[in-house]
Amino acid sequence: MEDGDSFKMILIVNVCREKLHYLEFVKPITDIFEENNKPYFVKDYKKITKKDLQRADKAVICGTSLMDDEFINNLPKFAWVKFFDKPILGICAGMQVIGLMFGSKLRKKTEIGFFKEEFKRVFLGMERKQEVYHLHNFYVSLPRGFEKFTKSEVPQAIKHTEKEIYGVLFHPEVRQKDLINVFVK
């Protein structure tokens, strides 16, 4: 293979309880990788094995629907997040998982639709004011050891200060697909 990047295998973690939500929260992400010829494999969050984690060079934890809180009650299934020594991107529910694994508190705030967020510094290619798509009833407080990249009170984009662990509360697969491309570059 000519492109060194193409060796990188991406693990996509499906957290949806409902089968039909795969098309809404996982497929838009796999479409981005298909388009850019990035190798990936998708696993249900309850079925991730050691082998999957060894095989993956990066991981994306996808979002799920507003009514779906099943993953919150299965947090031990995400214990790997703390020890996975490779880049992780958590989207919405995925960011909540990252926060909760690193000691955040889950807090209630419903935001649905387009919102303007202002970035303090460049975050996976995003900077200054950007319109992003929100779909959440909860958010996580800033976990210890993480930095907040948006000016908003609710942490909308965070990164671990030492590791490549990223979280976004908004859905970049809607109109901000480049963020995902920058993550897997």
Binding site: L20, E24, K27, D31, Y133
Partner: protein
């Protein structure tokens, strides 16, 4: 889980319903909101009188809610219809055919969230040419019921969505940025047959009217 489909009679809501059934969900009712305003923000239903025939072909009950108000009243009427579906058909979620429209999707998400039911958008962010190709592959018989953008003309109305159509529309996409699936409201469609129908609907007569780049078709079914 029992689901209600927000149904316009066009390809997107019908295909979304098909995907729900294919994934093992029970299709309990269709919900159609008919706007008397031609420039409705939420509802694109050029042949709303015919959705009853489509429901009959599917063997699924339908709730038709009329609306004639402004933006907010339309949403109130939609919520009323969904509440009725929850009560009457015990649905646990709504399915929509939203592809790109954040305006529509986020409003329906908000209503479902308030009513504490699931909201499914199985076509969300779908690559539009892929959507058309899947319709053809899954034997959907869909006709163009109206066109509303340059460079469409009267000749497009009544055309069937087939591989030739996908070719032509892909070219228009390159040249004029027309959304191949008509998601930007460039065209509207009507489903005559699909795997959910027990029998095909057949057009008895059609009347095409309009001007310039804006044409609509009124159809009478056999």
């Amino acid at each position: 889980m029992k689901l209600g489909v927000l149904f316009s009679g066009g390809k997107d809501s019908t295909y979304a319903a098909y995907l729900a059934v294919k994934s093992g969900y029970e299709l309990s009712c269709l919900i159609s909101v008919s706007s008397e305003k031609l420039d409705s923000w939420m509802f694109h239903t050029p042949n709303i009188g015919l959705v009853g025939r489509q429901a009959e072909a599917m063997g699924v009950p339908i709730i038709v809610q009329k609306t004639h108000g402004n933006k907010e009243e339309e949403l109130g009427d939609l919520e009323k219809a969904i509440k009725q579906a929850i009560k009457k058909y015990k649905i646990g979620g709504i399915v929509t055919g939203a592809v790109e429209s954040v305006y529509q999707a986020s409003r329906i998400q908000s209503i479902c969230n308030r009513l504490k039911i699931e909201c499914f958008n199985p076509l969300w962010q779908k690559i539009q040419v892929e959507l058309l190709e899947e319709l053809i592959k899954n034997k959907f018989k869909v006709v163009i019921a109206g066109v509303f953008a340059y460079p469409f003309d009267k000749g497009w109305v009544g055309q069937e969505i087939d591989l030739g159509f996908v070719d032509e529309i892909s070219q228009l996409n390159k040249k004029y940025k027309i959304n191949p699936a008509g998601e930007g409201g460039e065209f509207e469609s009507f489903v005559l047959n699909c795997p959910l129908f027990k029998k095909e609907l057949k057009i008895q007569s059609k009347k095409i009217f309009g001007e310039g780049n804006s044409w609509k078709m009124e159809i009478a079914l056999k």
